[in-house]
């Protein structure tokens, strides 16, 4: 099918084309809901079964990073929305600027995620052969924790052992938590990376002045995608970081 200007051959009008694109994007997003849904279900069942271990494991993640990332990501949603607006009202320069801002915020998010993953690596909280919930308490100094924090963790671990049946169980069940943690945030991060790629493409196109009030479907659709990824995080944050902070 050949293309006349912005109109692809299979469509009759630009309007029809835009309608199809939007509809297609939304349809894609609901498949994403169910995709993440399978993980959420697995999470729910396990969290219910292993409530104590899950809340303990959740407390070993740094709340501050998660909170900052939430702000960063919602901020990037704002700039994304603004770039759609700029395209709609024909401010071509602004489109590019907002897209770049979005990309920067997205990268910051991923950077912070990287730091968090690194911390978990240092603490031996990455599921696998070397997973060890007791690594930090057994090797004071190896983790980036203060003495009080370590002492606190020790007592909590002790209590936990009594509740769930010893260190083996603690390790097994917290490994489940971290499997889910990495599964969910990893999949989310993968979506962010794809989104960043899309943003790069948009920035290039937008510098060429491609997006106008008449035709800005790509900006809008990538926007939808980006906001969706934001929504996933909006749920991940309380589920993974805020289980039991009191």
């Amino acid at each position: 099918m050949h293309r006349t200007g912005d109109l692809y051959g299979q469509f009759e009008t630009l309007e029809q084309q835009k309608e199809s694109a939007t509809l297609g994007m939304w349809t894609f997003l609901i498949t994403e809901i169910l995709f993440f849904g399978g993980l959420f279900l697995t999470y729910t069942i396990n969290r219910h079964t292993y409530a104590d271990v899950f809340s303990f494991s959740s407390r070993t993640i740094k709340l501050s990073w998660g909170a900052i990332n939430t702000v960063v990501l919602i901020g990037s949603s704002l700039t994304m929305a603004m770039s759609v607006w700029s395209a709609q009202v024909g401010k071509k320069k602004l489109v590019t600027i907002f897209l770049i801002l979005t990309l920067i915020l997205g990268t910051v998010f991923l950077g912070i995620k990287g730091i968090e993953y690194h911390d978990k690596y240092v603490e031996h909280h990455i599921p696998g052969a070397s997973f060890d919930m007791y690594f930090c308490t057994n090797n004071p100094g190896a983790c980036n924790l203060t003495t009080e924090e370590l002492a606190q963790e020790r007592t909590e671990l002790k209590e936990l052992e009594d509740k769930v049946g010893g260190p083996v169980a603690v390790n097994a069940h917290s490994q489940l938590f971290f499997s889910l943690y990495f599964g969910m945030t990893g999949l989310h991060a993968l979506h962010m990376i794809i989104g960043a790629g899309l943003l790069l493409w948009l920035i290039v196109e937008s510098m060429r002045g491609r997006f106008s009030p008449r035709w800005n479907t790509p900006v809008e659709n990538v926007g939808l995608y980006w906001h969706f990824v934001d929504i996933v995080w909006i749920y991940l944050f309380p589920l993974l970081y805020l289980i039991d902070r009191h």
Partner: protein
């Protein structure tokens, strides 16, 4: 095509609301609500998250201004998610119920 253009003011307002909700949810997590009602902490966290998600969907994603069809599609996504969660949990939840 009559396309609704959402003004930046609304976007900023939504952003502010989202920030407030984020702060609330972090704060709520540090208070022990479970002693008032078991599981209240989770419920509060999820209700707040859902409010945030709804704001994002309605305004950032323009669902508020979209056609019935789009709304139906969005709804069906969440509805199916609900089916999956609810029916599966109904199995787990009722395993120990008494049969008499």
């Amino acid at each position: 095509m009559s396309e609704h253009i959402v003004s930046p003011k609304i976007y900023l307002g939504i952003f502010a609301a989202l920030m407030i909700l984020t702060a609330t949810t972090v704060y709520a997590a540090t208070v022990d609500l479970n002693e008032h009602f078991p599981g209240l902490n989770v419920i509060v966290a999820l209700v707040i998250a859902t409010c945030k998600a709804i704001l994002v969907i309605l305004f950032f994603m323009h669902a508020y201004y979209s056609s019935k069809r789009t709304k139906l599609i969005i709804f069906s996504g969440f509805f199916w998610l609900a089916i999956m969660l609810a029916l599966t949990l109904s199995d787990y939840g009722s395993r120990t119920w008494d049969l008499h």
